[in-house]
């Protein structure tokens, strides 16, 4: 007999996962908004609250500063700024959420790109007093470049403009005017006050003119099951499973995570780079075989024929193959301290493959504040976004980023320091 109130295990086991990112400039109230989401969804525990109260008082603040919940590093807390991407977790009865909280400073664009790369949704914060500003363009452009499928534009600090409908409408019009240039289909607008809690989790009583959903309602209900590619079968091989024991003496399986499409035993597949074709014999998970596998499942695939495949190879459906080429055009975001130069050499990591590459040309740089193209550029500096062409030492097997975020993305690594200096989205 249990003395505890029964927790809904079955419901919990059936939740899905929404990853979202937050973008706003300094003082737009990002950390406060996240603090509010955590607080109002009762995801903050007593000892965390006590610690924040204690730290707020120590810093001479009157009200509890919810930003202290998310600013984790000593420097961040002391300077009152967010330096690095922080990941936060909360759950409601409907969904589990992962927040990538990214700093708004202009010099930290690389963090926003990082947070955006895995997000289903981006929250773009706009200060109601300042309206659409340069950084709003930048954040929205990055969300669009990284192909975040859904945007929630939150006009924050409505309490400081007397909850005025006109202010909200003006910002929505300004934003809509420029967002026609973006590649995002689903954009929603919500007037909020993160500090006071209006329209974040609970519906505002100060803005009866707004009849749309609260931010939490959007987060809980947005449709995300279509965010993967289920049509083009792609399986980058991570490692080979060879047990070398008596029971599984001849077992040879290719371990990896489905990057696209749906694979079934019997499917005709091609093995890249060799180009040999065969059939799928079985798809294994722990101690069992499954009838089909789809993104983002981690499985082990066995093939009918013994074919030479190693890490970096790809198994794809024969009738629908990825592009294979050494010449690759892409949009790049540069994250290195040293500039990218034409003829510069880097290591490429793409799915599970890596090889070297040379930058052939910089086609143009993007002015992220206007989205204009700037031609005749010699090099790229930290946070620059540009279209470049590279040539790799061996063919990569890829799709365009717009078709598949997994097989369409790559990173560039600087030799010597081994730093990740560039991230590319293949065109």
């Amino acid at each position: 007999m249990s003395q505890f109130e029964q927790f809904d295990n079955k419901g919990y086991l059936n939740m899905d996962l929404l990853r979202f990112t937050t973008a706003g400039s300094v003082d737009d109230g990002k950390s406060t908004l996240i603090g509010r989401l955590l607080y109002d969804s009762k995801s903050i525990f007593e000892d965390q609250l006590e610690a924040v109260e204690r730290d707020s008082k120590r810093r001479g603040m009157d009200e509890m500063n919810l930003a202290l919940l998310t600013d984790g590093l000593r420097d961040e807390r002391e300077q009152g700024i967010t330096i690095d991407v922080a990941y936060r977790y909360f759950a409601t009865p409907k969904r589990k959420f992962i927040i990538a909280d990214t700093p708004g400073h202009i010099q930290y664009t690389r963090n926003m790109v990082t947070g955006a790369s895995t997000a289903n949704l981006a929250i773009i914060l706009i200060d109601a007093r300042h309206g659409v500003i340069e950084q709003t363009f930048r954040h929205s452009y990055i969300a669009s470049l990284l192909r975040i499928p859904h945007l929630a534009v939150c006009v924050n600090k409505m309490d400081l403009v007397n909850f005025d409908e006109e202010v909200f409408n003006k910002i929505r019009e300004d934003y809509s005017a420029f967002s026609t240039k973006l590649d995002v289909k689903d954009i929603r607008f919500v007037p909020i006050s993160a500090l006071k809690g209006d329209n974040v989790v609970d519906r505002s009583t100060n803005m009866n003119w707004y009849d749309g959903p609260t931010l939490m309602h959007i987060l809980e209900n947005i449709y995300i099951a279509g965010d993967y590619n289920y049509t083009e079968g792609r399986f980058p091989v991570q490692t080979i499973i060879r047990p070398y024991n008596d029971e599984y003496h001849d077992y040879r399986g290719y371990a990896g995570r489905i990057a696209g499409g749906v694979f079934k035993p019997g499917d005709e597949v091609v093995v890249l780079p060799s180009g040999f074709t065969t059939k799928i014999k079985a798809i294994d998970t722990y101690k069992e075989s499954i009838p089909e596998a789809f993104p983002p499942q981690s499985v082990t695939i066995r093939l009918e024929d013994e074919i030479d495949i190693s890490r970096g190879g790809m198994i794809a459906h024969t009738e629908n193959q990825p592009q294979s080429s050494q010449d690759i055009e892409m949009m790049i975001c540069w994250m290195g301290e040293k500039p990218l130069t034409v003829r510069g050499k880097y290591v490429v990591k793409h799915t599970t493959a890596d090889c070297k590459c040379m930058v052939q040309s910089i086609e143009y740089k993007v002015d992220v504040n206007t989205m204009n193209h700037i031609a005749c550029v010699e090099n790229l500096k930290l946070n620059d976004i540009a279209k470049v062409k590279i040539r790799t030492t061996q063919a990569l097997h890829f799709d365009s980023y717009s078709k598949n975020r997994i097989t369409g993305s790559l990173i560039l690594i600087e030799e010597g320091s081994n730093s990740t200096v560039g991230v590319g989205m293949i065109i």
Binding site: S2, Q3, F4, F7, N9, L13, M15, D16, L17, F45, E46, D47, A51, D55, T70, G72, L73, R74, R77, I83, D84, V85, Y87, R88, Y89, K96, I98, T114, S117, T118, A225, G226, Y230, Q238, T239, I241, R242, P243, N245, Y248, A255, G256, R257, T285, Y286, P296, Q297, S298, T300, R311, V347, K349, T351, T352, I406, S409, I411, N418, T420, V423
Partner: protein
């Protein structure tokens, strides 16, 4: 609703398995840090799944403070036997004997901080180039900034302000000689996810996690298990209580909870209604506002 849909536990499992396989593929000599706590037990379970039907391709490393719960060691030894893995023990007592570490003095003395030196020595002695850990980002605010693949310099240090950007599911494990990586495959799991997963997979746990009677005493508002080597203040007195552990670490800094929870369902219900974080019971985190960040920079788990 699409028929191709993974619930969040399956998605997290799949992500963690992917990362474990990346570690096996990208590094020459990885290891799995095993504390005997539920997170590292889940890690071993995920590793079994990632490489089945082959064995887990790396040894387990236990950093032993010498101040253990007996139940943890029993569990560890039977698990190692079951999975046929190699066990490497890094002993804090040995570090002290060799003069490499100095025992903390006073009533709150703990070997928690000393583990860092022993851990780094063990990594160096065995030339491990990647150490898999069960750290989660929801545990503590400094951990929230941690990458999956966390680069450590030749001194084993973490530089939180100069971390490599980590995008999509591409993990950069490139390093120079003498450097290593800490890898955290369950970064995105919460405490509740871990318990739900243990429940879903029916993973066996050390008996410490379930209610039992034990000698305990109260210190600074926290209840600690009593052990012979722990000094008591004159005002502190040992009592018998029914308790369980919500986390398991070194016995000197693991707070215990009064609980009657005797099954996984009970524990899940208890956690769903609790209002204190699991690390709220950890004396090691209470030392200062940035205690975890400071320890992590030096090379802590």
């Amino acid at each position: 609703m699409s028929k191709y849909h993974l619930n969040h536990l399956k998605e997290l499992e799949s992500e963690s398995i992917y990362i474990m396989r990346e570690v096996a593929a990208q590094f020459e000599n990885p290891c799995l840090l095993f504390s005997g706590g539920k997170d590292s037990i889940v890690m071993v379970h995920l590793a079994k799944k990632a490489f089945w039907p082959a064995r887990i391709p790396f040894p387990l490393v236990h950093i032993d403070t010498g101040h253990n719960f007996e139940e943890t060691l029993t569990y560890r030894d039977s698990l190692v036997e079951e999975i046929g893995a190699k066990l490497v023990i890094g002993s804090v007592q040995e570090s002290i004997n060799k003069g490499k570490a100095t025992e903390e003095k006073g009533i709150n003395a703990s070997r928690n901080k000393l583990q860092t030196g022993t851990l780094l020595d063990t990594i160096e002695a065995h030339k491990f180039d990647a150490a898999l850990g069960g750290g989660r980002r929801d545990e503590e605010k400094a951990r929230a900034k941690e990458r999956f693949f966390s680069h450590r310099d030749e001194f084993g240090q973490w530089d939180p302000k100069n971390q490599r950007p980590e995008l999509w599911n591409i993990f950069n494990g490139k390093k120079n000689i003498g450097e290593h990586f800490r890898v955290f495959p369950i970064s995105n799991w919460t405490e509740m996810d871990v318990w739900q997963y243990i429940y879903q997979e029916q993973i066996a746990l050390p008996s410490l996690y379930f209610t039992h009677e034990r000698d305990v005493f109260e210190r600074d508002g926290m209840w600690l298990a009593h052990a012979p080597f722990m000094q008591l203040k004159p005002t502190e007195k040992v009592e018998k209580k029914r308790i369980r552990c919500r986390t398991i670490g070194d016995i000197t800094c693991t707070g215990v909870t009064f609980s009657e929870a005797s099954s996984l369902e009970d524990i899940i219900n208890e956690i769903a209604s609790t209002r204190v974080t699991e690390r709220g019971g950890r004396a090691d985190d209470k030392r200062s506002e940035a205690a975890m960040e400071d320890r992590k920079k030096e090379g802590y788990f």
